[in-house]
């Protein structure tokens, strides 16, 4: 069989299984079982598949994923998130679109704890949506900013998707975690500018309201109590990575330990919190790692069948303009994102896109950040997206899916705008990591 027929068969099979609701990890495994049998060679092929499954996970660059998730879970379970949002709330004066701005502000803060967007969106949604409805915010100004802020989770370290992308693309995990900081912050700023413009030009969307202002002492104590310790842990974790004191894995473990100590100091640590944090971590970790274990062979089989090599050389021969290839790749990711979820997109494209990107001599750090952004678009792009569904779970019953979709659209365009900006100004990505090279 010719390589492109193999490729087409594998992809069609995979799509079919995924669309028919087969859990992604098992969809990859089934396709790999068939492909390993025919391409790697019958019994030996299946032996190789088992080895590949084990080998995929016994990989220490994946270790920061569970450790960072544990760090966030401990913070969440010890009840720090609502207090944090509450504190940010006290600081926001009477800015236009106050609650929407609050969503972005707390979204950015929450992102320093969460490694994935579902938790962030659900947390923000359940805390802020009722109040927004109370204050007669339009649905779009309520839902949109929260959806957008959910996407921040992956763009501000720690980021499970980011670690995975870096490790699969053979980019330094530490450098990548540092590289996403500026794009992530920029994303928050762009959201805020948009919200202010909307709120000023159409005040009825986000009616201003009188808000009882907290005293400066109260603000200060709350900040010291609820944000400072956490900020300290976050800065230590990132600082360790930035200064090269610890590897991302070690920094993550220290962060997790730090958050345990922090919640113990706040007298919020008990068996219940520990059990819930550990089982929450186990859940997300297994979810992610089983997919990785099932899909690593996918990439090896594609490569073994010659599909990857042939695709790469076709791309090299057909297009002489790398930027067009880049745009096509990102477009494909955004299109896949309308109906696939982030992890499966990543598993599908990385084995093919990274060889192309290195053949075209792209800066891989820059390329990975662009990919991650394009993948994040998918979490809020209709009709299917984890962010959209997490939102549906927390909004009031009379909110239709259509309303959620239309609220997401401006933020999708803001994200695409950010992608374009980073394509034009790569130093947004490369500047901070280059500061590591003093």
């Amino acid at each position: 069989m010719i390589w492109w027929q193999v490729l087409a068969l594998i992809l069609v099979g995979l799509f079919f299984l995924m669309l028919f609701r087969v859990p992604i990890a098992f969809a990859f495994l089934l396709v790999n079982i068939v492909a390993a049998y025919f391409i790697w060679g019958e019994k030996e092929g299946l032996d190789l598949l088992i080895s590949s499954m084990g080998g995929a996970l016994t990989n220490f660059s994946l270790l920061p994923i569970p450790l960072f998730i544990l760090m966030g879970e401990i913070m969440f379970q010890s009840g720090i998130a609502p207090k944090m949002i509450n504190t940010v709330d006290k600081w926001f004066g009477n800015v236009p679109g106050r609650l929407s701005m609050l969503a972005v502000g707390s979204g950015a803060l929450l992102s320093t704890l969460t490694a994935s967007n579902m938790a962030s969106t659900a947390m923000l949604g359940s805390t802020l949506i009722p109040e927004m409805e109370n204050k007669n915010y339009s649905k779009t100004m309520a839902i949109g900013p929260i959806l957008g802020s959910g996407a921040l989770a992956a763009m501000i370290p720690p980021s499970a998707l980011g670690i995975l992308l870096a490790s699969m693309g053979q980019v330094s995990v530490g450098q990548f975690l540092i590289a996403i900081i500026l794009p992530g912050l920029l994303m928050a700023v762009i959201y805020m500018i948009y919200i202010i413009i909307r709120a000023v030009t159409s005040p009825h969307l986000a009616p201003a309201y009188e808000q009882s202002s907290a005293s400066i002492e109260e603000k200060a104590t709350d900040t010291l109590k609820y944000i400072a310790p956490l900020g300290l842990i976050f800065l230590l974790v990132l600082g360790f990575i930035f200064l090269g004191i610890a590897t991302p894995t070690e920094a993550a473990a220290l962060g997790a330990l730090g958050s345990i100590i922090l919640s113990a100091c706040n007298k919020q640590l008990n068996l219940d919190v520990i059990v819930k944090s550990l089982s929450g971590t186990l859940k997300i970790t297994v979810m992610i790692l089983l997919i990785i274990s099932g899909s690593t062979a996918f990439s090896q089989i594609l490569s073994f069948s010659g599909a990857t090599r042939n695709l790469v050389s076709i791309v090299q021969n057909v297009s002489t303009v790398p930027i067009i290839v880049l745009i096509l790749m990102l477009l494909l990711v955004i299109i896949l994102g309308t109906f696939l979820e982030s992890l499966s997109i990543m598993m599908l494209i990385v084995p093919i896109f990274f060889p192309i990107a290195s053949a075209l001599d792209f800066n891989l750090l820059w390329f990975s950040v662009l990919l991650l952004l394009a993948i994040e678009v998918g979490t809020i792009s209709p009709p299917f997206g984890t962010g959209l569904f997490a939102m549906k779970g927390v909004v009031s019953r009379n909110t239709t899916m259509m309303t959620i979709y239309s609220s997401a659209i401006p933020f999708i365009f803001l994200l695409i705008g950010l992608i374009v900006l980073i394509i034009c100004v790569p130093s947004i990505v490369t500047w901070l990591p280059s500061m590591m090279e003093t």
Binding site: P23, L30, D47, G54, F60, P66, K283, V286, M287, L289
Partner: protein, 168 residues
């Protein structure tokens, strides 16, 4: 079914609990290692290898437990197709696929484990860990996953017959 079901629950819960303990263990282990390296200038070279194996073990220990909670990532496009027949087919199709996959992985996992044991394959590192201890996690895990899929299939058939009966 119910007593078998309960036994399955217990096995899955114990495995998940072990997974959680392992998670806590590697967190502490990595912290101890980094502290030791900086304060005492001594590093344990085996920590990396042990934590890597833990990653595989954690995944294998939590797989079936997560499946019972319906926690594995799926793409839910098909939920939007308003066809009860299609949904009923899918409710049966998915666990059958799962049984096939986990059955094959279990079988070849056992063969691989036996082969690793017979040839006494070890890791290429200083620890020289017998690889059978690492890879045995795969067939054990997928065997329990297969049992869980069988339960799901049983539920799907049982429920849809009940439903069909109710409609007449």
């Amino acid at each position: 079914m119910s007593s078998i079901g309960k036994a399955l629950n217990i096995v899955e819960n114990i495995m998940a609990a072990l997974g959680c303990i392992l998670l806590l263990f590697i967190t502490i282990l990595v912290c101890v290692e980094v502290t030791s390296r900086y304060i005492f200038g001594y590093s344990f070279i085996w920590v990396n290898e042990v934590t890597e194996y833990s990653l595989l073990y954690i995944t294998c220990l939590g797989g079936a437990w997560l499946l019972r909670q319906n926690g594995h990532i799926t793409i839910d496009i098909v939920d939007f197709v308003p066809s009860e027949l299609l949904h009923r087919i899918i409710r049966v199709f998915v666990p059958i696929t799962g049984i096939i996959v986990s059955g094959i992985i279990t079988w070849y996992g056992i063969l691989t484990a036996i082969d690793l044991y017979e040839r006494n394959v070890t890791s290429v590192t200083a620890l020289a860990t017998p690889q059978v201890y690492v890879y045995i996690a795969i067939p054990i895990s997928f065997f329990i996953i297969m049992l869980e899929f069988i339960r799901i299939l049983y539920g799907a058939i049982f429920l849809s017959i009940n439903k069909g009966g109710g409609m007449h």
